[in-house]
Symmetry: C2
Amino acid sequence: MSPKSCITQLDFKGFCQLVKQSPKSLYAELFTLHREQFSIRNEKIAVPKLQKIFEATFRLANSSGFQAMTLRQLATETGMSMGGLYAYIHSKDDVAQIIHSFLNRYCEERIERLRSLEVDPKSQLMGLIRIHLFLSELMQPWFYFAYMETKNLQKKHKLIAIESELWTENLIQKLIEDGIKSKQFKQTDALLNASLIKALLQDWYLKRWKYKKRKISVDHYASQVEAMVLNNLEPR
Amino acid sequence: MSPKSCITQLDFKGFCQLVKQSPKSLYAELFTLHREQFSIRNEKIAVPKLQKIFEATFRLANSSGFQAMTLRQLATETGMSMGGLYAYIHSKDDVAQIIHSFLNRYCEERIERLRSLEVDPKSQLMGLIRIHLFLSELMQPWFYFAYMETKNLQKKHKLIAIESELWTENLIQKLIEDGIKSKQFKQTDALLNASLIKALLQDWYLKRWKYKKRKISVDHYASQVEAMVLNNLEPR
DNA sequence: GTCTATAGTGCGATAGAC
DNA sequence: GTCTATCGCACTATAGAC
C-alpha cells in the first residue's frame, strides 16, 4: 500500500493491511526485543510458547487482575508446567514489565511512522486519533492490561509508564496549538482539550465489552470522536 | 440552602455546603448501613476506627492495588492489630465489597435527590454532569477504587457494579433524547454520546494526580466538559 | 527444553488471654 | 474490644531427573 495514502481516510481494515501485523510477527518482534530476558535461545520454539503465555496472561489478568493470577493458573492455561514457564520468564513481575515496555516501543514506533503522512494540523490530529484507536483495537488486551496494571509496577517502570501517558497527550496538545496558530481551530486551552481527547481514546479499550455488546465498530467510534473534537475546536 | 437553587450555577464550594458531608457523618452512615457486617456494636468506638481502616485501604490499594495490599500492612497503617482488624471486617474481600456497595447507594441517593432540581433537559444534563463531577471530587479515592478493583469482585457483586456503570449512562442518554425531542439538541446517537460523556466524567477521578499537578480545579474541568458536550449536541 | 517434586516464604484467618 | 501467638495453606521459585 502506498505510503502516500491519507490516514484520515483510512478505515480499520485499511489500517490492518498497512501495518501487516500477525500474531506470529508480533511475538517474533517481542522475542527479538527481549531476547536477553529469556533462557530460551531457539526462536522457533520460543515464539509460539510466548504467544501462549502472553495470551493466557491477558485472559487471566484482564478478567480478575494480575496480582490475583497465580503462576499455577498460568501453567494450566498454557498447558505448561511451572518449571517450563520459568524458562521463559524470570519472575511473575517480569511478565508485567515486558508487556509494558514492549507495548510502549511498539506503539511509539508505529505512531511516529504513520503520523508523518499528514501535513496540516487538523488532518494530523484526526490521523493521530484514528491511529491511536486502531492500534488499541488491534492490541486491546495489551492496552487494557497496561492501563489497569501500571500501579503494580516497581517505581522505576511506573515512571516510564506515566511518561508514556503524557507523551501522546503532548502530541495532541502540540497539534491543537498548531491548529490555533493556523486558524483552523479557535482559541482554547490546548492542554486540557488534549486530556479530554485522551480520555475519549482510552474509553475505547477500557470499555470494549460495552461497545462490542452494542455492536459499535471502531470505525464508527472514531468518526464520533472526530466529530466531537472538531465541534469543540473549530470556530462556529 | 434553598432546595430551589440551580445546580447548573453551583460551584464545588456550594455543592459541599449543600450535601453537608463530613468524614464523621460519612462513616456514621457507612456503619448504619453495614451494621450487620461488623462484630462491633458500639458506634462511638466503631466510626473512627472505620474511618482509619477505609482511609488506609484507599492509601494502600490505590497506590499498588487491592490484591497487593496485605492485612498486615493494613494493620500497621491503621495502628491496629490483625486480631483487632477482624472485629471490623470478616474477610479481606469484605472490605472491597463494602466500598462498592456503599458508594453505589450513597451516590444514587444524592443524584436522585439533586437532579430533580432542574426542569428542561439541557439544564438537567448540565446539572447531572456537575453533580457527578462534584461527587467524584468529594469521594475521589472511593471512585478510583471502585473503578480499578471491580474485576476483583465475585461474580455476583461484579454484575451489580456493571449495572451501576450503565445506570448513569442511561440517565445521560435519556436526557439527550429528551433534549432532541424538545429541539434543544440536534439529531444524534444519544447512547454513544452518553458513553463519551461518561468517559469524560470518569477521567476526572482516574487522572486526579495529573489535574492536581496542573492546578486544574473541578469547577474549571466541569465548565470545559459542559462546553464540549454543548458544542457537540447543540445545533450549529 | 521440559518435566516432577519440593523448599521456603508470607499470607489470611482464628483462638484464647486480658 | 483489643491484643499476641500461631495454624494451615497456597504461593513463587528452584533443583535435579529425563
